[in-house]
């Protein structure tokens, strides 16, 4: 029987080994019934975009705690777009100052979470704003 299942990629771009948050989120997405592809730390934007396409995910969630989000997040969004995959939703989280939000939204990110965001609210956002692509 046909049933669409949400596929989510959790990825950590750049030189940042702090993956506790990413792993907690991966687990929480699993518990929400999503299929989660976790790719580990130290990924280049190119690797992330390419993996997202090979895995046919609906969302890419980027985590960055090193301060390089201004470069890394837009790079992933741009690469997906270049490869005709801008129907994949890109979201992000980490240590991100509020004044950077707008430039990330402009770059194509659909949501940003910072410390204090609850797991429930993130899952809720996914359920409301991301449909498995048809």
């Amino acid at each position: 029987m046909a049933e669409r299942k949400l596929r989510v990629m959790v990825a950590k771009p750049g030189l940042d080994g702090h993956d506790r948050g990413a792993r907690v989120l991966a687990r929480c997405f699993r518990d929400a019934g999503f299929e989660v592809i976790y790719t580990g730390c130290h990924q280049t934007p190119e690797q992330i975009a390419s993996a997202a396409i090979q895995e046919d995910v609906d969302v890419v969630g980027l985590s960055c705690l090193s301060g390089a989000h201004r470069y890394l997040f837009p790079a992933v969004a741009k690469l997906l777009k270049e490869q005709g995959a801008d129907d994949i939703t890109v979201v992000g989280g980490g240590i991100i100052p509020e004044q950077d939000f707008q430039m990330l939204y402009d770059a194509g990110l659909k949501a940003i979470w910072v410390p204090g965001a609850t797991l429930d609210s993130i899952v809720e956002w996914f359920r409301t704003n991301v449909q498995p692509r048809n």
């Binding site: 046909a2 991966a26 790719t39 396409i53």
Partner: protein, 324 residues
């Protein structure tokens, strides 16, 4: 068909989308497979199985590297388990293989079991066909971490590799039925750890006791030792040995006309599966939609009837031949 053309040309988006649609049970995806199927049969399909944490993904990564050096293109299907409670899954096999993410000669796709019990996902059989038609020379299928009984991988592979690690049990484990019987090649992984010589002796003893006809045309499964993956030189060498052994096995199959028997195994399974999909599923779906399933379950709970009578009634209603 446009889609088939794109897949033949190696288009990753189209291929990954089609695999997704098969996983999700979309009927139109099945009709695309009708056009894919006749084009298949070119790739060498390698299955890797073994217990959780045995190092399957790391070995797959090493094999990809080794086959790429020989300029072969590689497709990987990596299966991880679905939660029986939430339906969610963590697909983490890719972590070990990410260095190949940008190589256009490599396609890695993770699949969740979604309730399948044989160590694979339902869509794996068709996903292999898709990678085959994409032109991958080698298709590697990594099962979920297996125990003793999940042997579906033999239905889909030309070459089955069983990955073992030292310290997992006594010699009785080695003579049990199931997973130990399906290997074309054994790998003793993490062989730098204590107990690897003992494990090797146990596998040897098991093979020595097997009736000779077990070994198709004289292929006695070789045992390859692979040591610490964090010491690239030794690890790389073992992986070269493993990939050479895999190629030797394939040549053995070809030389002795054994490919046919492997293809037949897959055909039997695919036919069974397809009949189930086309016959049973539509009936079940109707029963569910009409709420009849629920009524039947209640009848069973109240002991008003038995499952066989109910099933026969359904067969009489939906299947002409069966009711006569």
């Amino acid at each position: 068909m446009e889609r088939v053309k794109k897949i033949k040309a190696g288009d990753v988006r189209t291929a990954s989308r089609l695999i997704r649609n098969l996983e999700d049970g979309m009927v139109e995806a099945r009709s695309t497979i009708k056009h894919i199927f006749p084009l298949t049969g070119r790739a060498h399909v390698i299955g890797l199985t073994g217990s959780p944490g045995a190092g399957k993904s790391t070995l797959v990564d090493g094999l990809v590297e080794s086959f790429r050096k020989k300029e072969k293109t590689v497709g990987v299907l990596a299966v991880d388990p679905t939660s029986p409670f939430t339906g969610g899954a963590i697909l983490g096999d890719r972590i070990r293989m990410q260095r190949h993410a940008e190589d256009p000669g490599v396609f890695v796709r993770s699949l969740a079991t979604r309730g399948a019990l044989g160590g694979l996902a339902k869509a794996v059989g068709d996903a292999i066909h898709i990678l085959d038609v994409m032109g991958k020379d080698i298709v590697i299928v990594e099962t979920v971490g297996t125990g003793q009984q999940e042997v579906d991988i033999i239905n889909h592979s030309h070459t089955v590799i069983v990955v073992l690690i030292p310290g997992m049990g006594d010699e009785i484990q080695a003579i049990k039925a199931g997973i130990m019987e399906i290997a074309d090649i054994f790998v003793i992984n993490k062989a730098d750890r204590e107990g690897s010589s003992k494990l090797r002796r146990e596998i040897m003893a098991m093979l020595d006791m097997a009736p000779p006809e077990t070994f198709a045309a004289g292929w006695r499964p070789p045992i390859i030792r692979v040591e610490n993956a964090f010491e690239p030189e030794g690890f790389g060498k073992s992986l070269e040995e493993l990939s050479a052994t895999i190629e030797k096995h394939y040549q053995h199959l070809v030389q002795h006309n054994l490919i046919g028997s492997r293809v037949r195994r897959k055909a039997v399974v695919e036919l069974n599966e397809a009949i189930r999909n086309s016959v049973l599923e539509p009936i079940l779906e109707r029963l569910v939609q009409a709420g009849e399933i629920e009524q039947m379950i209640q009848k069973l709970i109240n002991k008003e009837t038995d499952p066989y009578t109910l099933a026969e009634d359904v067969a009489k209603r939906y299947l002409k031949e069966c009711s006569t």
